[in-house]
């Protein structure tokens, strides 16, 4: 594998509270190669968004990165000063959030927001920045971009706003785009358009993408690899095809079985009993053990590490033995 663009090592994020410290992220490690799309899935509270926020240094205090490292190319970015981090954000890492209205300032025109971003990070005159902004809007599929650039965010529909946000994220030609639930607030027919735009434009510019979503369908058609998070830990990571068709962690298997599909109608959905533990009540050993149908004594005592099960495919489960052989 080539040298990764982003490398996250044993990341631990903690939130101190009156009743003790909560671990929202507990020893998460992964790499993203240049030009790769990594999907990050999990249920609410699994730590998907916290991972994204930790990488870009936007964890809300009192939360903090307790240990671990984040490397972007040859730069270690988890210990940068707020000033230096601000330069990394936008310039080297672009961001797309779920609700386009939170990323756009309602009081400024689209033109002002885009040219400001471009001029902050790149050497460009006002005119050049504007021309570049129009070209970007055109590229993300805004009709009549030259005219609409002087509109305010509220003049655009939800889907169009999300296109503007993508343009904004890519304005300074970042190496990595972190997209946190970019299509969750949109209707399904618009969702397909947005995913296509994001995928195409990142491929065109060679930007890597970290796509955070709870929607396995979106991952299936967009990502190269997928990481499955559970209770702040990584349960499984591997190529999308392998993880979806041959999941090696009981949680992933349950998750896949519980999704109703259009392709084949099942009479009953597979159900995982119970719900994900709260952060203050994560059981000892494997965090999934109370819900697992194949739980063993060992799972109650020792926490399984992420171990390879196939090339580029790893699972954190005791059912996978040291040779990578698999349970049924």
């Amino acid at each position: 594998m080539t040298k990764p663009l982003l490398s996250v090592r044993d990341l631990v994020v903690e939130f101190p509270t009156r009743r003790g410290t909560l671990r929202a992220l507990d020893g998460v490690s992964f790499d993203i190669a240049p030009g790769e799309v990594l999907g990050m899935v999990g249920e609410s509270g699994a730590g998907k968004s916290i991972t994204g926020a930790a990488i870009i240094g936007l964890i809300e205090p009192p939360g903090r990165i307790a240990s671990g490292e984040v490397w972007l190319g040859d730069t270690r970015i988890d210990q940068l000063s707020p000033e230096a981090m601000r330069r990394v954000r936008g310039r080297r890492i672009g961001m797309v959030f779920q609700d386009p209205l939170t990323s756009l300032n309602p009081l400024y025109t689209i033109a002002r927001q885009l040219t400001e971003t471009i001029r902050t990070h790149m050497d460009a005159s006002e005119g050049e920045a504007r021309a570049r902004a129009i070209a970007l809007l055109d590229r993300v599929g805004i009709p009549a971009a030259a005219r609409r650039i002087d509109d305010y965010p509220h003049h655009f529909s939800g889907g169009m706003r999300q296109r503007v946000v993508i343009a904004l994220a890519l304005a300074a030609e970042p190496e990595l785009v972190i997209a946190d639930e970019p299509t969750t607030a949109l209707d399904v027919s618009v969702q397909a358009q947005i995913i296509d735009v994001l995928k195409e434009i990142c491929a065109e510019r060679g930007a890597s993408v970290m796509l955070i979503t709870h929607d396995m369908g979106v991952i299936a058609e967009t990502a190269d690899r997928v990481a499955v998070l559970y209770a702040g830990r990584m349960a499984e990571i591997g190529p999308v095809r392998d993880v979806i068709l041959q999941p090696r962690h009981p949680y992933t298997a349950g998750l896949m079985g519980s999704i109703p599909t259009l392709e084949h109608a099942a009479d009953r959905l597979v159900q995982i009993p119970g719900a994900m533990p709260r952060l203050d009540a994560i059981p000892a050993g494997c965090a999934f053990n109370p819900r697992c149908t194949q739980v063993m004594d060992r799972c109650l005592r020792d926490r399984p590490a992420l171990r390879p099960v196939a090339p580029h495919h790893a699972s954190a489960c005791w059912l996978v033995d040291d040779k990578g052989a698999h349970h049924g």
Partner: protein
């Protein structure tokens, strides 16, 4: 076919979205109306699950609210078991209310945070005077058990439960009046998929046990496919297609249905590429003339801009398209 359980005929609801009187006078503007539901007719048979799907703004929830009597229709009629629903007649409404209940999308907003779970579930029994006070505790325990919670949960408050458990409480409350018809408005869209599967399985089990009839409102086509017998597809307040659930997914008759199916992500990795569609839903205050879908339709003709097409029979049900039942589905 047996007599339908619920019939909806020519149901229309308009909302007045005009500016205040003074602004209208000063700015010389007309009154503005938003037609959330336009001329919708369908029937639901006893014991079946009928689903309404559509994107936001298609009028799904407005229809649900009119059926349970939370909103009065502007025009049209709703009849349950042959009995006309009349919001102005409180006596008959009360009798009908016992027979139909509703489950809402957000289990955080639909349960009173200051009430204990036992009281929330007992409320419909009290209000409708269904049983003597002494028996209610036993009944609440039975309902909790039915939805997979324990008797002891009756003494807790809603905040002590997760989203999935709260939705179970909402279902127990809906079952308390022993209804035969439940309107489920996006019952699982606020839940994670593993919890969604639990709730959908529970809804099915309860349907089998109590011979319930469901009206399921959802934007999620895979949930709808999993749960329903027949499906109605809405676009901008109008019903564009009604079809048998199994066949709708293989033989969509209306171009909008086809577009909707094509835009669902493919989880089975069958290599099916989703076709992105052009355009977005138009503004419902001034919908396009004729068929509301014509600006986005790949097979639109001149006639489509003139008259709203009526529902006409197709091999799988009904569709409101001039081309339905005429041209074979084109693969453009």
């Amino acid at each position: 076919m047996a007599d339908p359980f619920l019939t909806v005929t020519h149901l229309t609801r308009r909302f007045d979205v005009s500016k205040p009187w003074l602004n209208r006078v000063l700015e010389r503007e007309e009154r503005q109306f938003l037609t959330a539901t336009a001329d919708v007719s369908f029937a639901i048979n006893k014991g079946e699950t009928f689903a309404l799907v559509g994107e936001s703004g298609s009028g799904k929830s407005t229809i649900a609210k009119m059926i349970v009597g939370l909103l009065a229709p502007t025009e049209g009629q709703i009849a349950i078991d042959g009995q006309k629903l009349d919001p102005k007649d409180p006596v008959s409404m009360r009798a009908l209310r016992r027979r139909m209940q509703m489950i809402f999308q957000d289990p955080f907003a639909s349960l009173n945070p200051r009430w204990r779970v036992g009281d929330i579930i007992a409320e419909p029994i009290h209000t409708l005077g269904l049983m003597p006070r002494a028996e209610i505790t036993v009944e609440v325990a039975r309902l909790l058990d039915l939805v997979g919670l324990s008797k002891a949960d009756a003494g807790k408050f809603p905040h002590e439960f997760s989203g999935g458990q709260r939705q179970r409480i909402a279902i127990a409350r809906a079952l308390a009046s022993r209804p035969d018809f439940i309107v489920c408005d996006e019952p699982t869209s606020a839940l994670d998929v593993s919890v969604q599967a639990q709730i959908l399985n529970l809804m099915r089990d309860l349907q089998d046990e109590f011979k319930l009839t469901y009206l399921l409102i959802s934007h999620d086509l895979s949930v709808v496919r999993h749960m329903s017998n027949r499906i109605g597809v809405l676009y901008l307040g109008r019903l564009v297609e009604v079809a048998d659930a199994k066949r709708l997914f293989h033989e969509p008759q209306h171009p909008y249905t086809r577009m909707l199916l094509d835009s669902v992500p493919d989880l089975a990795l069958s290599g099916r590429r989703r076709k992105p569609v052009s355009g977005e839903i138009p503004n419902p205050i001034s919908p396009p003339a004729g068929c509301a879908f014509h600006p986005r339709c790949p097979v639109a003709q001149d006639q489509c801009q003139i008259a709203v097409p009526a529902l006409r029979p197709t091999p799988t049900g009904e569709a409101a398209c001039l081309l339905a039942g005429v041209a074979p589905p084109t693969d453009a």
